[in-house]
């Protein structure tokens, strides 16, 4: 799953390298959102310091 996230970032890099500025920026935000969602999923256990 994490390797897929890295691969998606590589796809964004491909858009940048081929000059597709709109796709690169929107794709970048989409993959960043996916990374944050993955983080929230992974950080869903209670944070002991806050308890």
């Amino acid at each position: 799953m994490m390797a897929l996230l890295f691969a998606l970032w590589l796809g964004v890099a491909y858009c940048v390298m081929s000059g597709r500025s709109g796709a690169a920026l929107w794709g970048g935000y989409a993959v960043l959102l996916a990374s944050l969602l993955w983080f929230l999923h992974h950080a869903s256990d209670p944070l002991a310091i806050l308890l």
Binding site: M1, A3, L10, V16, G19, S21, L25, L36, F39, A48
Partner: protein, 182 residues
């Protein structure tokens, strides 16, 4: 055409690639595999690098700096989460310290430095006079070529090594061996 600001961004790409390369070197030398949060911090560095890559390849734009700053904030959140997990007394740290601090603490500091640096850079108006837009890699100055290739190499290496470590599933919290070598 004034390419100085593209080259300045290329220097940033080389710096980020050096951080990722050091993380790889540490992974192989000490044999400590990166945890899921460590990998997310690497994603944060890659994402900031992509903002700089946009500046190098497509020309400096506030939107590209904005993307890099938001990515650095996300990376800082990933790092701070790991710092908060290990700051509790009696909680063992993850990995060996580097110059007195652990990688996740360094990562948080680096993300904070990047946010500050990028926020300072975005206000330099002279760079937006570069209206050439997309410039293929073969037309870029040597420094830009080096920066771009270094980041792309680090990104490809991350895809391969992360797949080797975690495979198609979820990465274990405390990885001890490579999924591909089991």
């Amino acid at each position: 055409m004034d390419l100085r600001y593209r080259q300045l961004n290329a220097l940033g790409l080389l710096a980020i690639s050096a951080v990722l390369a050091y993380a790889f070197a540490s992974q192989f030398i000490t044999g400590e595999l990166p945890c899921p949060l460590c990998l997310l911090q690497r994603i944060g560095f890659v994402a900031v690098g992509l903002g700089l890559l946009m500046n190098v390849m497509l020309g400096p734009r506030p939107a590209h700096y904005g993307f890099a700053i938001i990515a650095a904030i996300a990376g800082g959140i990933f790092a701070l989460r790991q710092v908060s997990l290990h700051v509790i007394p009696g909680t063992p740290p993850y990995g060996d310290p580097f110059f007195g601090m652990h990688f996740y603490t360094w990562a948080f500091i680096l993300f904070a430095v990047m946010i500050t640096g990028l926020a300072a850079l975005v206000g330099l108006r002279a760079q937006y006079e570069d209206t050439a837009g997309y410039q293929p890699l073969r037309l870029q100055p040597l420094l830009c070529k080096l920066g771009v290739l270094a980041l792309l190499l680090m990104m490809a290496a991350n895809v391969l090594l992360t797949f080797a470590e975690c495979g198609p599933g979820v990465c274990p919290d405390n990885p001890t061996d490579y999924w591909l070598l089991r």
